[in-house]
Every structure is written in structure tokens, then in C-alpha cells.
Homo-oligomer: 158 residues x 2
DNA sequence: GAATTCAAGGAATTTTGTTCCATTTTTTCA
DNA sequence: TGAAAAAATGGAACAAAATTCCTTGAATTC
């Protein structure tokens, strides 16, 4: 029994839901060539197994006056666990920080920060370095968002 | 009449939906202190005005074997419009590219790429440079995703 | 302060989600 | 190979949610 691996129907279902999580089950069922009951059960199974994590609303950045995206690179010499945990905790709690990664290579951490304007970014920056001691921080501003998607590339998914 | 600006109820509604787009209107209504009809109308209005763009399903990267995130910086000397459009078109069409920005400063473009493993990233990279002539490309690998959210910081929103 | 516009809420209706059960298909294993 | 078991399917019944309708209350205008 294939407990985990997705077959082509499950993949199609996920593709649909990545595009539009509000699609009625009946519509999805039709697209994937099933009737609604088995389709519904597959969706529930995908939820239970955790493949389908959640459904969220995506808002318009510009309409909400949040047009500025900044990528922040952080280099640090302090590599002790305690400092790291503190650092992570502080950063995670800023709602302006939408993504936060520990990196290999040039920078140690990378943040994607969203704010209304440069002034707000500066304010954010001040609040950040006030809470944690950061020496080497570099900020790169995005001039244009050419693509932003939450849809994972399922072509690979096995 | 305040055609655009959100009042505190609209913001609460958006906060709810950014967290869980599947929440029944009745539940949201209760949380924001309205009955379902006016709450439903506000949601529809937010949709119609485009503030609420869409509802999507978020999947589990690891469970789908897509654990590798790479940030790709591209520098280019070719700044003519034609090349740029071609470049953008090619990049956008790669499903592995989840984010794509034109940047100020050090690099001209930045991509966030999601793939199963390093080998798949290399394959992606080969396909990319095969399609467009890129000279200066740098790849940084994320070791750990500490935070990833699609929820915009609405504290600012006016 | 009356008229008008706008937002709200309860109830009815429609749509969609969910369960139930019988049937078909697939898999297992003798 | 073929019967038994397991798993998946689909239609119908049921439950829950979304959507509409209509009336009432509040705010704004002139």
C-alpha cells in the first residue's frame, strides 16, 4: 500500500489547491476525473498526513501600502547556541520579517522584510539592532517583484 | 465615504484570513464582533477591491521532498529592454523559481529557487543558463528555514 | 430635523461539505 | 489461477456553510 507517495491524482488535487484553495470539491473532482466523495477523502487524507498544511489568504501588498521589500543579510561571529536562540526568537517575532533563513556561504542569515517605505525600514532596523547586538548587516532593496508564488514545483514530488 | 482605507474590523478580518482562509464566516464574524451577513459583505468587498487577492493552500516542503532552498543572485551588463523581457519571461516560467526580484545594489536580480536536492538545483541551473546567456550568477543555499509566512504585517496598513 | 444613504442582523434559500452505504476495482495469498 | 480481503469509487441522504432577501437601526447630508 502506498502510504505516502502521491499518485497523479493527488498531485493534480494539490496543484488545484495551490492555485485556488476555495475551489469546491465538486470542481476539483471533475478536473481530476473523480466524483466528489473519493476526491473529498483524498483531500482529507492529504490534510491528515500533513502534506496539505493550511489554507491562507494572500493580500495585495501595494493596496495595503506595503510596497517595500528588503533582503537583509546578517553576518555574525557569535556562534554559541544561546545567542543564536535569542537572535532567532527576536527576529521571528517581528511581523515585518516574512522569511528568515540560516544560510551557508557569504552571509549567516538572510531575512526578507516587508514594510511601507524606507523610513519604516529604518525604524525596523533600529528596533532590530536595539534588541540584539548585530555587527555586520547588509540591506538590499527590491525594486520590482517580478514573480511571487506560494506554489511548490510539484513536478518533482514523489 | 471611506472607499479605501480599512477600519479596524476589516483589518481583523484580514488578519483572520491570512492565518486561516478556511474559517467559516460565522466564526470570523464572532471574532470581529459582527453577525455573519455584514461580515460576509465586508469580505466580498475586500475581494472586489482586490485587497484580498486569493486563497491558496500551503503544502509541506519536506513531505514533498522539496527541502532545498537556494537564493540566486544575478548580475548582468545587458540592460536593454529586449534582453530584460526575455530574461524575465524565461525565469518566470520555471516553476522552481518561487520568487524573483529586480534589485538595487550589489546584484541586479534575485531568485528564490526550491528543489529536492543539490543535483536538481544543478540541473535547474544548467537549464537556466542554457536558455539565457548569464555571466555572473551566485548561489547561496539555505541551511534552515527559520520563518516563512505569507501574512503581511497589517499593523502598518492604512 | 427630516431625508437620504449606509451598515447591520435575522430568516429563508441555495450551495457546498460530509457521511452513509452499496458497488466496483485492486491486491493478497492460498 | 482464482477466491478472499482490502481499498477505492460513486450516488444519495444529510449537515453545515455560504449567499440572498428583506427589514431595522445608525450615520450623514442638506
Amino acid at each position: 500500500m502506498e502510504q505516502n507517495s502521491l499518485n497523479s491524482i493527488d498531485r493534480k488535487i494539490l496543484e488545484c489547491l495551490q492555485e485556488d484553495a476555495g475551489l469546491p470539491v465538486a470542481d476539483i473532482a471533475e478536473r481530476v476525473g473523480l466524483s466528489k466523495t473519493p476526491c473529498w477523502r483524498r483531500i482529507r487524507h492529504l490534510e491528515e498526513s500533513g502534506v496539505l498544511r493550511r489554507r491562507v489568504a494572500l493580500l495585495d501588498r501595494d493596496k495595503l501600502n506595503l510596497g517595500v521589500t528588503v533582503f537583509v543579510g546578517v553576518k555574525t561571529s557569535k556562534h554559541d547556541v544561546k545567542w543564536l536562540e535569542e537572535f532567532a526568537k527576536v527576529v521571528v517575532n517581528f511581523p515585518e520579517v516574512m522569511e528568515f533563513y540560516r544560510m551557508s556561504g557569504d552571509v549567516d542569515y538572510m531575512l526578507r522584510v516587508v514594510v511601507p517605505d524606507i523610513a519604516a525600514y529604518d525604524a525596523f532596523y533600529q528596533r532590530l539592532i536595539q534588541r540584539i547586538d548585530l555587527t555586520d548587516v547588509s540591506s538590499s532593496f527590491a525594486m520590482e517583484e517580478i514573480k511571487y508564488t506560494t506554489a511548490l514545483p510539484l513536478a518533482y514530488a514523489g
